[in-house]
């Protein structure tokens, strides 16, 4: 630790982080159940949580494969969604200051929640406390509850009876929701959804989502060449 932290502050950061860890870990149940409902085995489902370990990418992979898409389309969608963790890592690295073996170990738990619970801290000690407590608790519980959900999902029979196919759409919407407070994001979301639906009848399953990703890429590059004066409404 390069700077001292008040033990009370530290305890409070860790307590909040564990709360986030428990809440996030619990919804591993929904991932596990949705994944086996989508046709993956219990072992494949657990491998996704263990190795990929980034919720949106995992749901995306399973969603594409369940819809009859090629596993490669699922993999590409998962990777595109995983790029945001690179951005998180870039922001976190100077803040956490991990060296040696700690860096590759910490990398696996660079996700939405651990980033959110550490980037706002005032000192390195508190940032590390938030990152480690959130990252580890989410990792352990997410994997545990993925297994619980996968085993339970295997036992309940036809997933459509329980509306599990509708749960996937709800999960994606819940992941998207916090980003919709920004007007530009709302426009991109509407465009992405429209483009994907337009592509459904003319492309193989899984491809429409990738096409939407391409639209975002294009929008990001083009809004730059249009530059500041023509910045989108509401910035």
């Amino acid at each position: 630790m390069t700077d001292p932290a008040d033990p009370a502050d530290r305890r409070s950061v860790i307590r909040d982080s564990l709360g986030v860890g428990i809440a996030t870990g619990l919804y591993g149940v929904s991932f596990g159940a949705v994944s086996v409902a989508g046709g993956l085995s219990v072992l494949q489902t657990c491998a996704l949580s263990l190795v990929m370990f980034t919720g949106a990418s995992q749901f995306a992979f399973v969603g594409v494969v369940a819809a009859g898409g090629a596993p490669v389309s699922g993999a590409l969608t998962a990777l595109m969604l995983g790029t945001r963790n690179t951005l998180y890592g870039l922001k976190l690295a100077p803040l956490l200051g991990f060296r040696g073996w700690r860096r590759p170990a910490a990398a696996q738990v660079v996700i939405d929640e651990s980033t959110a619970m550490s980037v706002t801290r005032e000192s390195q000690a508190l940032a590390r406390a938030g990152f480690v407590a959130t990252g580890l608790s989410v990792f352990v519980l997410w994997n545990l509850f993925t297994l619980v959900g996968a085993v339970a999902g295997n036992l309940i029979g036809d997933p459509r009876t329980y509306g599990l196919d509708a749960a996937v759409g709800g999960a994606f919407l819940a992941l998207l929701w916090p980003r919709l407070s920004d007007p530009r994001n709302r426009m991109i979301a509407v465009c992405g959804a429209a483009v994907a639906l337009g592509a459904v009848p003319v492309t193989a399953a899984g491809v429409p989502v990738l096409v939407a990703g391409g639209v975002a890429l294009l929008a990001g590059v083009l809004t730059r060449s249009a530059s500041d004066p023509t910045e989108l409404p509401g910035r």
Partner: protein, 103 residues
Amino acid sequence: MTWVAILGAGVGCYLLKLAGVSLPARVLDHPVVERVADLIPVALLAALVAVQVFADGTRLTLDARALGLAAAVVALLLRAPFLVVVFVAALAAALARIVFPGS
């Protein structure tokens, strides 16, 4: 094939995280990089919502899943936590299928 995709994408996602904590911070300074990285999750998640709810293979459909999505919107407007949103979406679709079998 599925295993190759799972492990390939899994390791790929790890390498994306590792690149983030290993690359120099100035990579982030490029405005295009930051904007594209902001927009991609939004477009992909919106596309995934649309396709998961309104597509069946290569056909567009309107069935019980749309009711599930509407229920999820209501739950989100009421600031329900993630797990509740997912549960409500499933419940609404399941109930719709009891009332309208085959939907």
